[in-house]
């Protein structure tokens, strides 16, 4: 897209009349046109073209015809994506409360601190490097489709403030595009935060998380959303079941394997549960995540196209509800009691599951995808526990396993209504390659950190709690419930 714009400017400055449309207009066509009319066009006309407002494209004119002259598609779309970005921001509050609720009160300051750090770090590293690494331009022209170096976002590149930035398909300004994507980026580290909670050294987590968010997430993101090799192959991931959640889940799995389980979790071959200290906090967290997901998926329509946004809201909420119900009944039947923490994980499982296909699966497929995700998550949590892979909040199961499920499900004809554009093989290749990439990179990062500085707090500090050990602060001074 940017490349198109640069070419357009070049054409105009040499005094040719380039009638280029908006967005995906084929540049070669514009250039042919320009050559044919070079002689009859004056420089004055060209100057007018260069400074005048961009013309809306045909899709826009169709929308105006449908909705009337007052339909200001660009402004509404831009505003909706900004609201969606703010909703995705609230998901970080959701993660912070969910993670603190499902862990012990003696580690609450540490969990909250990590979440505060992640959102600050995530936005700035995305500004400095991530965004341009993830969206490098046209594959084969600007980059090879596998890796592109990042660079700081500049006013010149991302100040596009009208339809010329992305047409109807990406109806927003460059800044909106940046901030919406920036809110997603930090999620990868947040998912890791929950899985490694209660035992990781703070500096090791901060360094590992920064490397993951700044350098690793944008690379695998560029493979699909940046128009790289997976996009070329036909891989589809609407809002990031794999690109965001699968990535985070498998990065978390690698970190947990290097780190080991919490002390006292697996004793003499038996699982000893370590209770979360606040179910109200955990529940608030899941409701906030549910709310934020309307922005996560709804904003990923990348415009306020009425049909798209409203359909995505319905599929997102339906899958979440189905995931919650499925995990309620599965845990009730198989674990004897209706477990609240499992019901909460089930809602998230449904949300992660539908994220890959919220716009492209059929309505009832969304419900079934959510139901299956809600069932998978319960057994996945039990299986990881049996394998002595200690994940206090169930992040690996919710984001990793259900991320894979959701992305592959979109490729099944049963769910996508027999779509010819989305097929199973690219879905399998994309899901596995991104999850494997996240896992291997995270494994290398945390092995290196373990060798260099150590990643685990001492046994005494773990016993006393990371709040005192790492921060010298208590989350609940004068009131520390006995565990």
């Amino acid at each position: 897209m940017l490349n198109h714009l640069k070419k357009l400017t070049l054409c105009l400055t040499v005094g040719v009349f380039a009638y280029a449309g908006i967005g995906g207009t084929d540049m070669a066509f514009a250039q042919e046109d320009a050559e044919a009319t070079t002689e009859v066009v004056t420089e004055e006309v060209a100057a007018e073209e260069a400074t005048g407002p961009a013309e809306p494209d045909e899709d826009y004119l169709d929308l105006v015809a449908t909705y009337g002259e007052t339909f200001d598609f660009f402004t509404i779309s831009n505003l909706w994506i900004l609201i969606a970005a703010a909703l995705v921001f609230t998901m970080h509050l959701g993660f912070a409360t969910l993670e603190s609720g499902l862990t012990q009160s003696k580690n609450t300051v540490n969990i909250l601190f990590k979440n505060v750090f992640i959102i600050c770090m995530g936005i700035l590293t995305y500004l400095l490097w991530g965004f341009n690494c993830m969206y490098p331009g046209e594959m084969g022209v600007d980059w090879n489709g596998f890796f592109s170096a990042g660079s700081p976002v500049t006013m010149a590149d991302y100040g596009g403030t009208d339809f010329s930035y992305g047409g109807t398909a990406l109806a927003m300004t460059g800044w909106t595009d940046f901030i919406f994507q920036a809110m997603f980026a930090a999620t990868a580290a947040t998912i890791v935060s929950g899985a490694v909670a209660e035992r990781i050294k703070l500096p090791a987590f901060m360094i590992g998380g920064t490397i993951l968010v700044m350098f690793i997430y944008p690379v695998s993101g560029s493979w699909k959303w940046g128009g790289g090799w997976l996009d070329n192959m036909g891989f589809y991931d609407f809002a990031g079941s794999t690109l965001v959640h699968g990535f985070g889940g498998f990065a978390a799995l690698a970190a947990v394997l290097i780190l080991g389980p919490r002390a006292g979790k697996y004793v003499d071959g038996k699982i000893k549960p370590i209770l979360g200290h606040s179910m109200p906090l955990a529940t608030i967290g899941v409701f906030l995540l549910f709310l934020g997901w309307f922005g996560f998926n709804g904003g990923s329509v990348l415009s306020a196209a009425p049909e798209g946004v409203s359909f995505v809201f319905v599929t997102t909420a339906s899958a979440a509800a189905a995931g919650g119900l499925a995990s309620i009944f599965v845990s009730w039947i198989f674990l004897k009691k209706p477990d609240l923490s499992m019901a909460l994980n089930g809602i998230l499982a449904g949300l992660v599951g539908i994220t890959a296909g919220a716009d492209s699966v059929t309505l009832w497929s969304a419900v079934i995808i959510g139901l299956i995700a809600g069932g998978i998550v319960v057994f996945s949590i039990l299986a990881f526990d049996k394998a002595k892979i200690d994940d206090p909040v169930g992040a690996i199961s919710v984001h990793g396993i259900c991320g894979i499920w959701g992305t592959i499900a979109v490729g099944l004809p049963f769910f996508n209504g027999g779509s010819e554009d989305i097929t199973l093989v690219p879905q399998l290749v994309g899901t596995l390659s991104i999850c494997a990439f996240a896992f291997i990179c995270s494994l290398i990062i945390f092995i290196a950190l373990k060798a260099i500085m150590g990643i685990r707090v001492s046994a005494e500090e773990e016993e006393q709690g990371l709040d005192i050990g790492e921060h010298g602060q208590e989350a609940y001074p004068n009131f520390v419930p006995n565990q």
Binding site: L275, S331, L335, D339, S341, I381
Partner: protein
């Protein structure tokens, strides 16, 4: 003077307090405690794994009284705290050598 220490079920506190107040007992101290007796603990489930809760939440009520009201006070506590089921708690009685009200420096039974 005697001190009564009563370990009771938390939801019985209100009834016990009212019963003692009816006898004209003007002060008491309560704390949230945990423990077990013959009732032992019970099993709970968290995320699919069973665990035993050994120490159950109870209320410890402490009251120091004149010897003359001891029998009535103990009887009132027992009547109010009894459900007849295991885990109702226990009452301990011990002698107190002296008591002093800090504000007035009154001593002995006048101070309780």
């Amino acid at each position: 003077m005697k001190k009564i220490e009563a370990i009771i079920k938390p939801f019985k506190l209100e009834e016990v307090k009212d019963a003692l107040a009816e006898l004209g007992i003007e002060g008491m101290t309560v704390s949230e405690v945990k423990g077990f007796g013959r009732q032992k603990g019970h099993t709970e489930i968290y995320r699919g794994s069973e665990y035993t809760v050994d120490f159950l939440p109870k209320i410890k009520l402490e009251v120091v009284i004149a010897d003359s009201v001891l029998d009535n006070a103990v009887a009132a506590i027992i009547k109010a705290a009894k459900t007849g089921k295991i885990g109702d708690g226990k009452v301990f009685v011990s002698p107190i050598d002296d008591a002093i009200r800090i504000r007035t420096e009154e001593k002995g039974e006048k101070a309780v």
